[in-house]
């Protein structure tokens, strides 16, 4: 006989899980609730109910311009991260690259390094050799912090590919690039998508690297939100945050629908 878990423990478990869920979701709930406020000020609980801050955000040239800037930076960073990270992930996971462990550690170091340190380093390098802060500097900075994610996700999928599949393709006359293009890459698809999605989000969301590397006049969305919070906090900040959350959820649903991101194992 399996003895039942004592009632006390079950209640305790439910309490802990509920606390964790609340802790994780509460900030989101606060932000979303505040965004519908009719008040002038960023306060919780919200006073009144209105969509005025959404109208405000969507008709504000500052917000739209910053969103546009963040978006195209994120698109370029994502493209570069996938282009560079995919072959790196495959190579590290599947082939005996000499010193693979060291390469892995090097590629993944931005994951553990404090972003502030990275920001300072990048700023010094760019100031000395590449003409100081610029869009280009931000893109390179984002690439450094996004690349590990793509390498990780692609590598995780690439490890699972049947090694014999490549050998079989080889015996069927496939040259190295044909094996890579037709056999290995398609099987890494879920890893590439997941990595690309993470890269886009991280770049779009980053404030620290951009803060170090932006030239005057460059305004990304996270930087704008920071600035607003500091100097004129109003519920438009909450509205734009809510829009970002909604957009992220939509992207996840779309990826799930079209590519079955949840079926990573397949």
């Amino acid at each position: 006989m399996v003895s039942a878990t004592p009632r006390v423990w079950r209640i305790a478990a439910i309490a802990v899980v509920s606390a964790v869920v609340i802790y994780m979701l509460a900030p989101l709930a606060v932000v979303i609730a505040t965004s519908f406020s009719a008040s002038q000020f960023l306060v919780f609980p919200p006073r009144g109910l209105s969509l005025r801050w959404y109208t405000e955000v969507l008709s504000s040239p500052a917000y739209l311009h910053a969103a546009w800037t963040s978006a195209w930076i994120a698109v370029i960073v994502t493209a570069l991260a996938v282009l560079v990270g995919t072959p790196a992930g495959v190579a590290l996971a599947r082939h005996h690259v000499r010193g693979a462990t060291w390469w892995s550690a090097l590629f993944l170091s931005p994951l553990v390094l404090p972003v502030v340190v990275l920001g300072i380093g990048l700023l010094s390098v760019f100031s000395k050799y590449f003409g100081g802060p610029s869009y280009f500097a931000i893109v390179i900075g984002h690439l450094v912090i996004c690349l590990p994610y793509v390498i990780r996700t692609v590598g995780a999928v690439a490890v699972g590919i049947d090694r014999n599949a490549e050998e079989a393709a080889r015996l069927m006359g496939a040259r190295w690039w044909e094996r890579y293009l037709y056999v290995v890459l398609p099987q890494c698809r879920t890893g590439i998508l997941a990595g690309g999605f993470l890269a886009f989000n991280i770049s779009f969301d980053d404030a620290v690297v951009a803060l170090f590397l932006r030239a005057p006049g460059i305004e990304t969305l996270p930087l704008l939100i920071y600035g607003r919070l500091e100097f004129s906090p109003d519920p438009s900040v909450a509205a734009v945050s809510t829009l970002l959350v909604a957009l992220t959820i939509l992207i996840v649903i779309a990826l799930e629908r079209w590519f079955g991101l949840g079926r990573l194992a397949h």
């Binding site: 049947d162 014999n164 393709a169 080889r170 015996l171 069927m172 496939a174 056999v183």
Partner: protein, 350 residues
């Protein structure tokens, strides 16, 4: 179609010698099975033949041309992997068309050749499925069809049936035999299963520790094993240590460890001294009438295992344990047997 000649192939992995001077000639259209326990080098030899491993020494010839340094993609060898190595992201038809695509076969031929290959392995109508939608047996057939579709010169099969359950395995064995009768393709098969090797192969190359222990037809290996290892690996056999005395006739005297005197047929090499006597389990009879037999030893009966078509009976002569396969019809009488007996020509000195 092609003849294959391997001469003096060696391959080391670090300090381990995987192949140690292997030579083997395979005739055009012949099926040779590389048989042996795991780690004997049989798969390495197959991979060397495919070009997936570079041998450290020796040469490989196909149709009289040395191909030792030819890249695997240019060898025109079809290989079926133990894992099948199907491409999971492609449909069955796309899997089959892949070799045609890579070899730049004109597109208009693809559909008909894929259809033909599916027919060959009796999978008509499965072209649109994906590998994960197929059973193990069906995947195995797709892998076979894919290895065959581009008309390779040599077909290599790495443990082709080991991932199937027992019933399916037997069915696929029959299908492989029928398919081969149709194609007459030079084939090398790797297996650790002696029954598979015996039922499929024209010749068996028995391997051990990176060397070929014995090559011959299944009948030769079974009936005239050259070494104790061969006798023991191919079909279970009793190996009795004997002390052999030479004379001028064809019948020699021998002594078992317990001192019992028996007679044996003189070995081909006519060498006396410490030898071994190979006794197949099914060649032994339990009897209570020893006078009728060339050789008979008094015994005590031991444990018996019921095997359906026969009973595997353990008997003891002094300290010597001997295993006898008794046909099920004869087992009732065997329970009061006093002797184990055999015909002299069924016992072989090695």
């Amino acid at each position: 179609m092609a003849s294959v000649s391997l001469s003096n192939i060696t391959k080391r992995f670090g300090a381990v010698s995987a192949l140690d001077g292997v030579s083997l000639d395979i005739a055009d259209g012949e099926l040779v099975a590389l048989l042996g326990p795991s780690g004997c080098g049989k798969t390495t030899l197959l991979r060397v033949l495919a070009g997936l491993e570079m041998p450290d020494g020796g040469s490989i010839m196909v149709d009289g041309r040395i191909i030792t340094n030819v890249a695997p993609e240019a060898r025109r060898v079809g290989m079926m992997f133990q894992s099948y190595a199907l491409f999971p992201h492609m449909s069955v038809a796309q899997n089959l068309a892949f070799p045609l695509r890579m070899r730049r076969v004109p597109m208009r031929e693809h559909a008909s050749r894929v259809e033909q290959a599916l027919g060959l392995v009796r999978l008509e109508g499965f072209g649109a499925r994906h590998p994960h939608q197929l059973s193990g047996g069906q995947q195995q057939r797709v892998a076979l069809a894919r290895a065959l579709i581009d008309e390779p010169r040599v077909l290599l099969l790495d443990e082709p049936l080991s991932n199937l359950d027992a019933k399916l395995r037997e069915q696929m064995q029959v299908e492989l035999i029928e398919l081969r009768a149709k194609l007459r393709l030079t084939t090398v098969l790797v297996t650790h299963d002696q029954h598979e090797a015996m039922s499929l192969a024209d010749r068996i190359a028995l391997m051990r520790d990176g060397r070929i222990e014995q090559v011959g037809t299944p009948r030769e290996l079974y009936e005239s094993p050259a070494t104790p290892f061969a006798a023991d690996f191919i079909g279970a056999a009793n190996l009795l240590p004997i002390e052999l005395e030479a004379n001028d006739t064809e019948i020699w005297a021998a002594r078992l460890p317990a001192g019992t005197a028996i007679t044996v047929t003189a070995p081909d090499d006519r060498r006396a001294g410490a030898r071994q006597l190979v006794l197949r389990m099914e060649d032994l009879t339990l009897t209570s009438d020893p006078a009728q037999w060339d050789v008979a030893l008094p015994i005590r009966l031991g444990a018996a295992v019921y095997r359906g078509s026969h009973v595997r009976q353990r008997v003891h002569h002094e300290a010597l344990a001997i295993t006898v396969d008794v046909p099920k019809a004869a087992h009732a009488q065997a329970s009061c047997a006093t002797h184990v007996a055999w015909r002299r020509r069924d016992a072989r000195v090695i």
